[in-house]
Each structure stands twice: as C-alpha cells, then as structure tokens.
C-alpha cells in the first residue's frame, strides 16, 4: 500500500463512550495498528474543538486516511467527511467506527468486553481504510428541457408550471386537441362550474406559452437515455422526430370503464354511464323534463373480485349529476344506490348533504341483492333492495346511470416498456414509494401525475401536475446531478459479459456494451444508486462497489478473525 498515513480520532462523547470504554487504552492500541501515524482521543470529536483538531492533525502529520471512532455514521459521517475535505483530504478516504450505539451504550455493565470490542472495531476500521481510494463524485449535465406525455389536465399543469419557471417544455398529445377527459365533462364538482368555461382558457394558455412546444397529434415511439439526457422519439405529421430532454413527465391519464355485461349496458337504451350522461347534458337539457325517475347505481365494475379498487371520486360525480337532474326536474325521483358513499374531506361532505337536502335519495345496496331493471327496450321501473331498511322498493325509472371506475389507459403497457418504468395494480403506473415519493419513479428523471398513476379527480390531478413539475425542476434547476461516489464500477478485463449483474440491478443501471470488440458490463453512474446487489451476484468480482470492495471487507473479516 503506497505510503498510507492513518490518523485515528477516538471520542469520549462525555461519559457516553468514555464512561464504559477505556478510551485511552484504545488510543494506545490504535497507535500500534498498521500505518497509524497519529491517534488521539477527544471529549467531543463532533464539537468545533474536535473538528478543528482533525483539520490540524491532517495538516501537521500529512495524514492521507482518517478513522473516527464515535457515535453513528448515519448522522455524523457527512460532518466528518466535510471536515476532511476542508483540510484538503479527499472525503472518501475516511472510515467511521461506531463505538457508542453499537458498543458502550449496549455493554454498560461489561466494561472490559466493551473496551476489547472497541479495540477490534477500530482495528477493523483501520484495516479497511488502507484499501480506500480517493473518489470523485460523478457529475452529469441535465438538459433544461422536459417532455410531458399527455395533454390532459395533469399534463397541461406540469407543462405550464415548468414553462413559467423558465424551462423548455415539449407537450406531446396523441389526440387532436388538448384537455383529455375533462373535455367530455359537462360541469365540475364541487362548484358545478361549466367545464368548458374553465378548461378552455388553460388550453389557450398552454398553446400560447412561448416555452411550450406542442406536438399534437403525436405518438410516442421510443425513449432512450437517462436522467439529464433523454432522446424521446415521437411520430408527428408523418415522420419520426427525436426530442432531446433532461426529464420526462408521464401524464397519460385514464379512461372510463364501459361496463359491458352489467345491467344490460349496451343492450338497452337509456342505460348509460356517467360520462355518457355528461355528453347528453352538454347538448341540451330539455329531455330531463319528461323524466319520471332516474336511478344511479354506483360501484359498477369495481370493488369486485375482478377489479378490487375504489375509483375515489365517482361517488361525487354521481352526486353532481343527480343534483343537476333533480334541480332541472324536481318532480323526477332521483335515486343514488351506493355501497359506501365516499364523500371525504370538507367540500364533498357538504356537497353530499346539500344534494340530500335537494331531495336526492341515497340508498345503500348490497352486491348479493343487486337492483333489477324492469323494461323491454328501455327501463320502465327498477326493483331495489334497501339494505338499511331491509325492504324492497319498486320505483319509476326511465333512465339508469351506471357509475363506473376509471381504468388504466390501453397504451400504458407500451409506454411503460419504452420508459422502463413498472406498472402496478390495475396496470396503472407504479410510483417509487406509495407514501413518500408518489409522483416519482424509481428510475431517476421520470415522473408521473394524474390518473395515469391512480384514479384522481381534477384538483388532485392538478396538485400532482405541480408536484411532478417541482420534481422535474430539481435536477434541471442546477443543470447538474451529483451522485455519491458509492456506485459500482466494472473491471473490463475480468468481465465476461454474462449479464448476471444486469438482471440483478433493481434500477436497470447496468448494460452490456462493446468496447473495441470486447463485450463487457457497464454501469451508468447517473442511474446507479449504490446498493451493491450486482457486486454480490458476480462470481468473479469483475464488478465492485466504491467504498465497499471485496478487498475492503475481507480485510475487516481477516482482522476480526485473527484478532482474538
């Protein structure tokens, strides 16, 4: 090992370590370890005094490795790495040894054993630090441009937000016009505002914004590359066109389930879905006057074994349309049959109460006693079993509206293959973490918003649109991504391109490439998260992880085994 000069700093942490571990004897022991030039103990190594001492001793003894034995690296490692860097030492020539949480605090009544253990842990740290190499953190450039796939409400929100922040946006829409599902909606809950009156200005803003390049109609064909440098190929007016962007937002939305096979849908007139009804209401409202009764049946085609999920806001759509019909024709008997009324939050609960006060009848039904429609070509009456009163009712009904869930868009599978991002339940896109990273994918640089991820209403689609814009803006704002130097690297000579590591990588960060005729694995540092799973699957050790090479761990095992 070329001229290794190790400095060891052992902390008392007041009495937390010093009260159990005989720190001075550990310092004495450390001095005798291989290549240890300097060793000292401090009352609080993490205090200003401790850090200053490290900086001084690095300069004074021209140390090129530092070991600190103190509390836990999870909270204090960056602090000490920065201190080494301030003293001109590469921050990766540092090893942290935990002798508080993993030693003094859990062996308070076995002081000798604790001291012996501390010595061995320090010996293991000193053994490993010899083999550490200086590292440079990978810095990739990030193009300040984003591709938003899908021009619905979520996609437009992301595009406008990024454009307003000054980024170039390519908005890709498969249809001939922007707006997505909202275009086919009559009014919007909970304010009952006219959908067109609100969505049209947003579409105009998106078209007018100088930072947004609209590709419409355009079909997504292929995506290559990684965060900061994606090549997005789209098919537009007869030709393939490659757009170069730094980030991608998936906002491909979802579609209403057409419930064939439920309640004679498609076989009987006047048995429609909520979206069909929205279309009828947009045209004209005269036909409502001669309605005797309307029954809405909620949860059609969902919360059943074949499609287990609740589609979140269809209850509110039912309330909206029932209320509109009721107000247009107070004589008509408007009934909503539900299996739980999902009016969550402040506005929806109030909306639900107002609809009740307006005379809409809400009855609870059960799947094992479903309502029966009576009528030949079109419904005339409906037989209902009300669960709460356990009674049968027969009501006039010349229209049945089936409230169905949103289901995933047909081309999700294709888009997911192109972007190498996973699909989850119901073939919706699967986010990186359901609770804390809802609009990101595990693959960096690709984000998701709106019903492409899971059925959400307009407000939530817009929130997710903004959130995805924020996530995309992060790498684009600095134009750089920095990756902690704990990624894997391949020794080309030793690699036989067997592809085992490629399969093991949870992040698709490794690929087999050809360099001057030699096939070998190659790690994309921008995508590698530094988990090391690939290294453990490679039989020949051709791929290693910075800061955790086989050599660095084996010498710790060797030290430990030889130590006692």
């Amino acid at each position: 090992m070329a001229d290794v000069r190790v400095g060891v700093f052992i902390c008392h942490c007041g009495t937390n370590i010093g009260g159990v571990v005989d720190v001075p004897s550990v310092v004495e022991y450390a001095r005798a370890l291989p290549n240890v030039i300097y060793a000292e103990n401090n009352l609080y190594t993490c205090s200003e005094g401790g850090l200053a001492s490290i900086r001084e001793k690095i300069a004074e003894h021209n140390l090129n490795r530092v070991v600190v034995a103190a509390c836990t690296p999870r909270t204090h490692e960056p602090l000490f790495k920065n201190t080494c860097e301030d003293a001109g030492l590469n921050r990766y020539l540092f090893e942290f040894v935990n002798i508080r949480e993993h030693c003094s605090w859990i062996h308070m009544h076995a002081k000798d054993d604790a001291t012996e253990k501390a010595k061995q842990l320090v010996a293991m740290g000193v053994a490993k630090v010899q083999w550490l190499q200086p590292q440079q953190e990978y810095e990739g450039d990030v193009l300040k441009a984003s591709a938003v796939i899908g021009g619905g409400i979520a996609g437009m929100t992301s595009a406008l937000s990024l454009a307003n922040q000054g980024y170039e946006v390519h908005l890709i829409e498969r249809e001939k016009e922007l707006g997505g599902l909202v275009k086919s909606v009559n009014r919007l809950f909970p304010t009952n505002v006219d959908a067109d009156k609100v969505i049209t200005p947003i579409i105009e803003k998106a078209k007018a914004n100088k930072n947004i390049r609209l590709h419409m109609p355009a079909e997504l064909k292929d995506v290559k590359g990684f965060i900061g440098d994606f090549d997005v190929t789209i098919y537009e007016n007869g030709a393939d066109n490659v757009i170069k962007v730094g980030t991608i937002i998936v906002a491909t939305g979802a579609q209403e389930l057409k419930p064939d096979g439920f309640y004679n849908y498609g076989k009987m007139d006047n048995v429609v879905t909520q979206l069909d009804l929205e279309g009828k209401l947009k045209q004209d409202k005269k036909w409502i006057d001669d309605l005797a009764g309307v029954t809405m049946i909620n949860c059609v085609g969902c919360r059943i074994p074949e499609r287990t999920y609740c589609s979140r806001f269809c209850c509110i759509t039912a309330i909206k349309n029932a209320w509109i019909l009721r107000e247009a024709n107070p004589k008509a008997k408007v009934v909503v049959l539900h299996r739980d009324l999902m009016a969550y939050g402040v506005e929806f609960e109030e909306y639900y109460r107002k609809a009740m006060e307006a005379g809409v009848l809400f009855l609870r039904y059960n799947l094992d006693k479903p309502p029966q429609i009576i009528g030949k070509e079109k419904p005339e009456k409906i037989k209902i079993h009300d669960e709460l009163t356990d009674s049968h009712l027969e009501l006039p009904c010349d229209m049945v509206v089936l409230t169905t869930p949103l289901v995933s868009a047909r081309d999700n599978e294709a888009v997911s293959k192109m972007l190498k991002v996973p699909l989850g339940d119901g073939m919706f896109f699967l986010e990186a973490h359901l609770k804390l990273r809802p609009v990101e994918f595990a693959t960096d640089g690709v984000y998701v918003a709106g019903s492409a991820r899971w059925p959400v209403d307009i407000t939530e689609s817009i929130s997710q649109g903004y959130a995805a814009a924020a996530k995309a803006a992060i790498p684009m704002s600095s134009g750089k991504i920095k990756v902690e130097a704990i990624t894997s690297f391949v020794n080309i000579g030793e690699c036989i391109a067997c592809g085992t590591c490629v399969l093991a990588c949870p992040f698709n960060a490794i690929s087999v490439v050809d360099t001057d005729g030699k096939m070998h694995a190659q790690v994309n540092e921008a995508m590698c998260k530094g988990c090391g799973t690939c290294v453990a699957t490679c039989p020949s050790g051709a791929i290693q992880q910075k800061g955790c090479t086989d050599q660095q761990i084996l010498c710790m095992i060797e030290t430990l085994a030889g130590g006692l």
Partner: protein
C-alpha cells in the same frame, strides 16, 4: 440569479418535503417549527397504511436529509411573530426563537441531563401515556437530537433551585440565561404546512373518554403499539396494564356531525383498519371490530387493504354509529351500545379496550397564524384556498401557499404531493416576480 429565501412554516412531513424540494431547486429555505424537533404527527405513528411501512423508518431519512440540506436552515422551537409585505411580492418576517436554555451547537444529545433531572411532566409526544422530564428530547429519533428545557416546570427557571442538568453536562450546553431571539428574514414566498391537531373529545360525554379508563384515542393506540412507545409495543390497557382480549374501534368521533365537526377527516377509516391489523398481528387472538358509517377506502391499494384486514386479520366491520359507551360495573370494561343497521336491532357489546377515531382539526396555531399572515380561514378553521379546483395550493394572499392537512383533510401521500406542488408554485411565483 440570486433567489430570495423561502419561509416554510411547520416541520411535519409536508413542511419537510417542501423544504427539501425548494432547497434542491437552489432556494434558501427557513423551516420554522413550533416544537423542539421536526417530524410532526408522522413521527408519532407506528406504521403507515396501506403498506404497513414503519413510519419512522421512512420519515427519519427525510428528516436527516432536510436538516443536513445545504440550503435548508431549521428554526426549531420558534413561531412567527410579525409578517409585513415587503412591497416587491415578498414578506419581511420576524421569527421569535423561544429560549431552549440549551445551546444546540454544544449539545450532543447524550441525555445525561435527562437522567439527572428530578422534575416530571406529561409526555405530549406519547399522548400523556407516560412522563418526560423538565429537560427532554421530544422522541428517540428527533432531528435535531438536542435537549430543550420546559420553562414552565423547570425548578431552576421558576425558583432558581436545582440546576442539576447544568452540573452534569460535560458539553457545557445548559444556558439558563438564554433569552428569546428575533430572527428577521426577507422571504420571497411563504409555504404553510402547519398540519393538524387532535379534536378534544372529552366533551363528548356519550363516549366516556377521560372517564372510562380503557377508552383511548387512536393516537394513544399508535403510541402503545409502537416499538419505541411508552410500553415498547405492548398493547397494555391503561386500567391494569393487561393485553385486552377484545378490541373495538369507533369511527367518526367528532367528525361528520353537525355539533362538533361537519366534515370527514378523510384518514380515520384507513388508520383504524391499519391499527386493527397491527392489533391482530401482535395478538392473533384479537378479533377487532370497527364501527363505521362509510368505509372510505378511496386511495391507491386502500380497498385491498380493507379486504385483507377482513379476510386475513379477523377484522370485523360493523356498519353502525354507536350511541354511547357505558362502564360495566363488575368488569369496569367499556360496553358499546349500537344499532346494527343491517339487522335493525339495538345491541350492546362489552370490549376490553375501545379506540375512538377522533376528528382531526386544523392546527390550533391557525388563529394566531391567520392574524400574523393575514390569510383567511374557512368555517372549519382550515386555511382558505379560494380556487380549490384549479389552484389547489394557493391561499388568498399573494406569494403565500398552503399544503397538507392545514388546508384540507388528507393523508400523507396527498400532503407530500401538495408540498411538492407548493415548491413548483413558489418557483413560478418567484420567476414571475423577479
């Protein structure tokens, strides 16, 4: 382009996420937190639905990332004192830093002082199920992991007696002369993330909370079942410390009722299901009952979670809204009176422990906040979002945005989405203003 700093109010998961996103976009962020550590309500949870992730396991990395972010400065144990528009779209803010009587640069979180301190008080973090000292660290994984002295009960501050903590502190971090400080910043924009508080249900006499020992709140249940809680994860009944042989949850306690809170708190159906699953997981003999009105499992993979609770964890869903709970004379156990709406009969059933899913209300700090910031509150005390449909995170004051439960009842993922949403809106606003 020198970006103006951004003020984030509230150190829960929403405030943390907004701060990380804004900081990562290159903005300087001041995160003001009323208590002595960030983490908010999520830090008190044992697990989160529907994945049963351990809450602190997914929160701690975010807390550490936020605290160590080069662009984020934590201002804990502090409140907003004064906010004046600065005439160019931003706000001149005065932040009152309450005295901790501990120098956080010196304190290493070693807890020597806590062992020696003789004064005890109810531990709010553990919902008063156990005690904490006058000098304390809010919770084991608190960030920053620094002590704070509760000035109201500290014998030295109130009567100049004791001072034991100062004697044992080797880092000389105790500073009884610490005064409150004012931190002034000129913020380009403000993000509110002040979260929720728990509705005081002791006034609802029909459910006997506060009178019947083994009637507890859902948050108390979370602390009991949590491995780092007062009973180390053992579901010990407050009355005799035994493990209950039967367990019930009652939904909508103080929610969806015109006297207390008209709205639905949105998360109780799911956290009750989670708690029932945890109860059965820890104690397979338990058949938890959940008394509900509408089982609102509306989020991603929620409905499967409820189905699994019923099929695999013996959870029984009873569609009924119990009228009252009475203490059984001999056993002292709570007895629930309810109308089973499916069989249309009035029934009563004794349980060894009843958990009330109390309403979640906007943070009590909102009254103060509204005055200081000039943002308006809606009838239920949430921060008003005038155009909820198309501008879901904009308040009625320019440059002030709001995310999470403080503006509408929502769960963790929706709060995190709105937090990132605020970051985008702030970036747009500051780009537009400059």
């Amino acid at each position: 382009m020198d970006k103006k700093p951004v003020l984030v109010v509230g150190g829960g998961i929403a405030g943390i996420q907004a701060s990380i996103d804004l900081g990562s976009m290159g903005y300087k962020v001041y995160l003001v937190e009323k208590t002595a550590a960030i983490g908010g309500r999520m830090a008190q949870l044992d697990k989160t639905f529907p994945t049963n992730d351990c809450s602190i396991c997914i929160l701690a990395p975010k807390m550490i990332e936020c605290a160590r972010h080069e662009n984020v400065e934590l201002v804990t144990y502090a409140e907003l004192q004064e906010v004046e528009p600065d005439g160019s779209g931003g706000y001149k803010v005065k932040i009152l830093r309450k005295p901790r009587y501990v120098d956080i640069d010196k304190c290493t979180g070693c807890e020597e002082c806590i062992e020696k301190c003789p004064i005890k008080a109810d531990n709010e973090f553990n919902q008063k199920l156990d005690k904490r000292k006058a000098i304390y660290i809010p919770f084991a994984q608190a960030v920053p992991r620094k002590a704070v002295i509760d000035a109201d009960i500290c014998r030295y501050i109130t009567q100049q007696k004791c001072g034991l903590c100062k004697k044992v502190c080797q880092a000389e971090a105790i500073d009884f002369d610490q005064k409150e400080e004012i931190l002034e910043i000129d913020a380009g924009a403000v993000v509110l993330a002040t979260g929720f508080d728990l509705y005081d249900i002791s006034a609802m006499r029909e459910y006997g909370y506060g009178q019947i020992k083994d009637v507890i709140t859902a948050m108390q249940f979370e602390r009991l079942i949590c491995a780092s809680g007062p009973s180390h994860g053992h579901l010990e009944r407050p009355s005799d410390g035994e493990i209950p042989k039967s367990l019930a949850f009652i939904q909508c306690v103080g929610s969806r009722d015109q006297i207390n809170n008209p709205y639905c708190s949105s998360v109780c159906c799911m956290h009750a299901t989670k708690e029932a699953i945890l109860a059965n997981e820890h104690y397979p003999h338990l058949k938890p009952h959940i008394f509900y009105t509408d089982m609102r499992a509306v989020g991603k993979r929620f409905q499967d979670y409820v189905t699994r609770a019923h099929d695999q964890y013996n959870v029984e869903y009873v569609r009924s809204r119990p009228s009252k709970i009475v203490e059984d004379e001999e056993t002292g156990n709570p007895v629930i009176y309810y109308e089973d709406t499916v069989s249309q009969t009035v029934k009563k059933k004794e349980f060894e422990m009843v958990v009330l899913c109390q309403a979640l209300i906007p943070s009590v700090s909102h009254q103060e906040l509204a005055k200081v910031l000039g943002v308006s509150l809606d009838s239920c005390g949430f921060i008003t979002v005038p155009d909820k449909l198309f501008n879901p995170v904009d308040t009625d004051k320019e440059g002030i945005f709001a995310c999470g439960f403080c503006q509408s009842p929502q769960d963790i993922p929706d709060s995190v989405v709105q937090a990132s949403g605020c970051a985008a809106r702030v970036a747009e606003y500051l780009a537009e203003v400059s």
